[in-house]
């Protein structure tokens, strides 16, 4: 586990412009080299640096755009004979969310090397053939801020940088508390209406080679920050939300090639091979818009953001995310499904039964009195909103602290009053699954990792014995179930052809 999960430095990070030594996030050295570059030009280096400093303040919201514009208008006109910076009607070009713009980016309005070629113009200037090849290299090289070129309906494959995203949803799962009751599996099925054998939440019972003890491994989707499934998808149906790192499937664009399933090292994907067991009518979803139009995905997306989310929340919709993408609940026939970490909850559409910062499996686990699953924002620090996962991990670390360290610490009464945050001396075992594959999974396990020769064994509760709200049969071995239908008899669990 790395330090970024817990953010152990208690200090509030200060924005660079607040410090005296350098306003630039990359430090004084970088700033000096930028100044040198400016001085090599025929223009006023002091003015340039002053503007850059204020541009940083502008980006941080310290200065308004009007102030910034007004402060430099005369200077810029004097220096460059014309002020070509964006004026107010056209201010959209300034991306105020981006905090770590480099000096050069901030100064991009100033033509200090007479090369006023924006990326957009550059693209236009490339020939058709060159654009195809060139753009690939260009975007890969500079992928952080190419958002402006990507149409809104093309999703990304990575969460945004830590300072740009709102959350990084994930889980801390305390395997030492799990008794294999499968309450989480039931909770998940009730929430999402998945078909027989599509156990989005799955609990292994296993034994290691040299021990008789039965262990458990709770396996939701790991919602990787470097998700192989999203990378390989040929249509970007499988995508990673920039704002909170959830890895979801757009059921409307998925072509059912199953490459995501093949690329995922955890085996968390479940394809909808036939007609879903739970028909669409039974899943809570927006049926008709307020203006009377049917709630097709297209129509839902045509609403503006606030209006769309108001209407979705009104009916406690469990299908659309905040952008009007069909990503939640069980998939339709021919597309891929998997654990979603409940996006309709995280987008605040289902406040009454599932508020933001909760997931169905965690609720079920808590109800069963086990509290194994702790969902939350892994970027959060203890005390922030949605800190349940990180808070739980901190607590467990403290409890598991090395006894000698604990004794040493409390020798000094002052420390006792004000104990420092526990550091690496904790003896708590934590791991992430297959971390060496660099998928950067967002599920942190407390307990022991299964050994390389661990074998799955019968659990205390069998999958076929659990019941759910939909009356859908639950099974462990989905293949057996599916193969039964493949005999050509067409015996779908519910033979309702017209339910889409």
């Amino acid at each position: 586990m790395s330090a970024d999960d817990t953010n152990e430095t208690g200090e509030e990070p200060r924005h660079p412009y607040e410090t005296d030594e350098s306003f630039h996030p990359l430090g004084a050295e970088w700033e000096d080299s930028m100044r040198q570059k400016l001085e090599e030009t025929e223009f006023d280096a002091d003015l340039g640096m002053q503007m850059a400093r204020d541009a940083q303040r502008l980006v941080a919201g310290e200065l308004t755009e009007e102030e910034f514009y007004a402060a430099y208008h005369d200077d810029v006109e004097e220096e460059f004979a014309v002020d070509e910076r964006a004026i107010f009607d056209d201010i959209d070009a300034v991306d105020t969310d981006v905090e770590d713009e480099s000096v050069l980016e901030a100064l991009s309005g100033v033509d200090f090397e007479n090369e006023d070629v924006s990326r957009r113009e550059m693209m236009k200037k490339m020939g058709a053939g060159a654009a195809f090849l060139g753009y690939g290299a260009y975007a890969t090289f500079d992928s952080q801020d190419d958002d402006e070129h990507i149409p809104e309906d093309i999703r990304g494959i990575r969460p945004a940088d830590e300072n740009e995203r709102k959350h990084r949803w994930g889980m801390v799962i305390d395997l030492e508390r799990c008794d294999g009751c499968l309450a989480c599996v039931t909770g998940c099925i009730n929430e999402n209406g998945t078909s027989t054998g599509a156990n989005w939440m799955y609990v292994f019972a296993y034994e290691n080679e040299d021990a008789d003890q039965r262990n458990f491994l709770v396996r939701p989707c790991q919602h990787c920050s470097n998700a192989p499934c999203a990378k390989v998808c040929p249509v970007r149906a499988r995508h990673t939300r920039k704002k909170d790192g959830l890895v979801l499937t757009d059921y409307e664009t998925c072509i059912g090639c199953r490459y995501c399933q093949v690329a995922c090292p955890y085996g968390v994907n479940y394809f909808q091979w036939g007609e879903p067991d739970v028909p669409m009518e039974e899943i809570m979803h927006l049926d008709e818009l307020d203006d009377g139009r049917p709630a097709t995905p297209e129509n839902v997306r045509s609403l503006d953001f606030d209006e769309r989310n108001r209407q979705l929340a009104e009916v406690e919709d469990h299908v659309y995310d905040e952008d009007g993408r069909w990503v939640d609940s069980r998939p339709p026939q021919g597309t891929m499904g998997k654990c979603t970490m409940c996006p309709s909850r995280q987008d605040e559409h289902t406040e009454s039964h599932g508020p933001k910062g909760t997931v169905a499996c965690m609720d079920a686990c808590d109800e069963a009195g086990m509290s194994v699953i702790h969902f939350g924002d892994l970027d959060a620090e203890v005390g922030d909103d949605y800190d349940r996962a990180v808070r739980y991990l901190e607590r467990r670390k403290e409890v598991e602290e090395n006894p000698r360290d604990k004794r040493d610490r409390f020798d000094d009464p002052e420390d006792y009053e004000n104990p420092p945050a526990p550091h690496g001396t904790s003896e708590l075992n934590t791991f992430r699954l297959l971390e060496d594959l660099n998928t950067q999974p967002n599920v942190i396990y407390i307990g022991n990792e299964p050994g390389p020769n661990a074998e799955q064994v019968e659990g205390p509760v069998s999958y076929s014995s659990i019941s759910n709200d939909w009356g859908v049969e639950v099974k462990d071995n989905r293949k057996e179930h599916l193969d039964y239908f493949s005999d050509g008899g067409g015996l779908m669990a519910r033979d309702e052809e017209d339910d889409e």
């Binding site: 040929p234 072509i255 399933q261 493949s486």
Partner: protein, 493 residues
């Protein structure tokens, strides 16, 4: 060594004469194709639930199976075909010119089948255009499947260009020998043709061939197709840089086998013993041996590397693979074929064209089953191996298996139709052939065309005369066209 002079009339014979065998072959392949399309319709209606595929993981199955294995197989045949044809043009291997166009046509037909398999494999084939195109500029940067689509399209275009360019020469000269109903088509093909373009076209084709040969290991079956598997971290059975060369060796062996089979059928059906000579078959057999040896060698590399001291999961998948009956059969067949090829190289009298035909069929069966097993075993033994509690053995369902028969029938059908539209042996070949006979032309061309070529040609004449006679008797009355299609169905099943 030909018993008679080859003439342009020989190569247009399929266009002008149609025997009852052609109609029978057409009827049978059309019926099989339609039957399979009906079965596919059933799959469209019911969803992929009619396959025996399932979810890997707690589902206890494999999510890719026969469809993907057969897809790789068809792509391999296609890519190998175009590589063969390009090599003939690039290295001046004149001996094989009579089968160069067969290889190109095989590429087109096999690529079409591969493309069809992509659709058949998909859960929502109706979205293939609407979903792939909008995001293509971004997915092509990250998704090996998007690279695949790109490469298949690219090769379809290159092969079609290739074929389109070379056919103009023929079409312009054969105009008076073709049936009347083809005249409009030929006048479209030869639009704006002048003799001055021949030289230019030849140069263009040479460059195209160079491009294909250079890109073969980089982008074709030596690159993009194996990357579909080898770049993933999830399945140890698929990993390793050896997959590139391994796939390429499979492509080449499969394609040579395909060319041998088609050449055999054409030769029988149209009295082409003097065009597709025994020498051509001997040469193709030797090449099959060379690439077959590569295939077996690379298999050995994988096995030894995985079972000696590799990680737990890599060893597990390899042990399961090498003890699998399908694998043993595939490698066993390859070894028998190699044994035959080695024996006929040492002792030319061991060679016979029917034996080479059987070898070709065996190789195609071996490569198909090996590739399906590669896909299935890979998924059955993932890196994350805790799912052992819900094991499931994959065996393709009837719907899946019917697709192999169906696509072979469809591919044959395409060939049968092409036979009636364009000459499948290029005019150059019969012209060159005549030259070779008169002036000993073949001595002056690059003789890079065949491993151990000297042995084959030395021992050739007697054996060749024998075989040719046999076939002469059989086909003396009428040319029974590719009777052929149906034969293949039976043998391949």
């Amino acid at each position: 060594m030909a018993t008679k002079e080859s003439t342009p009339d020989d190569i247009v014979r399929p266009l002008n004469n149609t025997s009852k065998w052609w109609y029978i072959a057409f009827g049978v392949t059309a019926a099989i194709s339609l039957a399979w399309l009906t079965i596919y319709g059933y799959q469209l209606d019911r969803g992929l639930a009619v396959t025996n595929l399932s979810d890997w993981g707690s589902g206890g199955g494999v999510t890719w199976g026969l469809y993907i294995g057969a897809f790789i197989w068809w792509v391999g045949i296609a890519h190998g075909g175009i590589i063969l044809s390009a090599a003939v043009r690039l290295f001046g291997m004149k001996k094989y010119q009579p089968v160069a166009r067969v290889a190109e046509l095989l590429t087109i037909a096999a690529l079409a089948m591969a493309g069809l398999y992509i659709l058949v494999h998909m859960g929502r084939p109706d979205r293939v255009v609407t979903s792939v195109l909008p995001s293509y500029p971004w997915t092509v940067q990250t998704s090996p499947l998007a690279w695949d689509i790109t490469v298949i399209t690219l090769y379809f275009v290159m092969t079609a260009t290739y074929l389109g360019l070379t056919i103009r020469y023929d079409a312009a000269r054969l105009g008076d020998k073709i049936p009347w109903y083809l005249t409009p088509l030929y006048s479209v093909i030869t639009i704006g043709y002048t003799k001055a373009e021949d030289e230019i076209v030849e140069r263009m084709v040479w460059w195209l061939a160079l491009g294909i040969i250079v890109m073969a290991p980089l982008l074709l079956h030596g690159g993009v197709i194996p990357w579909l598997f080898s770049v993933l971290g999830s399945m140890p059975g698929w990993q390793g840089a050896v997959q590139g060369p391994q796939f390429l060796s499979i492509a080449l062996t499969s394609a040579i086998s395909g060319v041998i089979i088609i050449s055999f059928l054409l030769r029988r059906a149209y009295d082409w013993e003097h065009i597709i000579t025994e020498d051509v078959f001997r040469g193709l057999t030797m090449w099959l041996g060379l690439f077959g040896l590569l295939f077996v060698w690379l298999q050995l590399q994988q096995v030894i590397n995985a079972v000696y001291a590799a990680g737990v999961s890599a060893e597990r998948v390899m042990l399961a693979t090498i003890s699998h009956p399908v694998y043993i059969m595939a490698i066993g067949l390859m070894l028998v074929v190699l044994g035959y090829i080695f024996a006929q190289a040492v002792k030319p009298s061991v060679f016979s064209i029917p034996r080479s035909l059987i070898a070709a069929l065996a190789v195609l069966w071996a490569t198909l089953t090996e590739k399906i097993l590669f896909v299935v075993e890979g998924l059955q033994y993932p890196d994350f191996s805790l799912y052992g509690g819900v094991p499931g053995a994959y065996f393709p369902s009837f719907v899946e298996m019917s697709s192999v028969v169906g696509t072979i029938a469809l591919c044959t059908l395409i060939f049968l139709v092409i036979l009636k539209v364009i000459p499948v042996v290029e005019l150059h070949a019969v012209e060159e052939h005549a030259h070779g006979e008169e002036g000993g032309h073949s001595e002056t061309t690059h003789d890079t065309d065949e491993p151990g070529g000297a042995v084959a040609t030395d021992g050739g004449p007697t054996a060749a005369a024998d075989t040719v006679q046999t076939y002469d008797e059989e086909v003396s009355t009428t040319d029974h066209d590719a009777g052929t299609g149906s034969d293949r169905e039976v043998t391949d099943r």
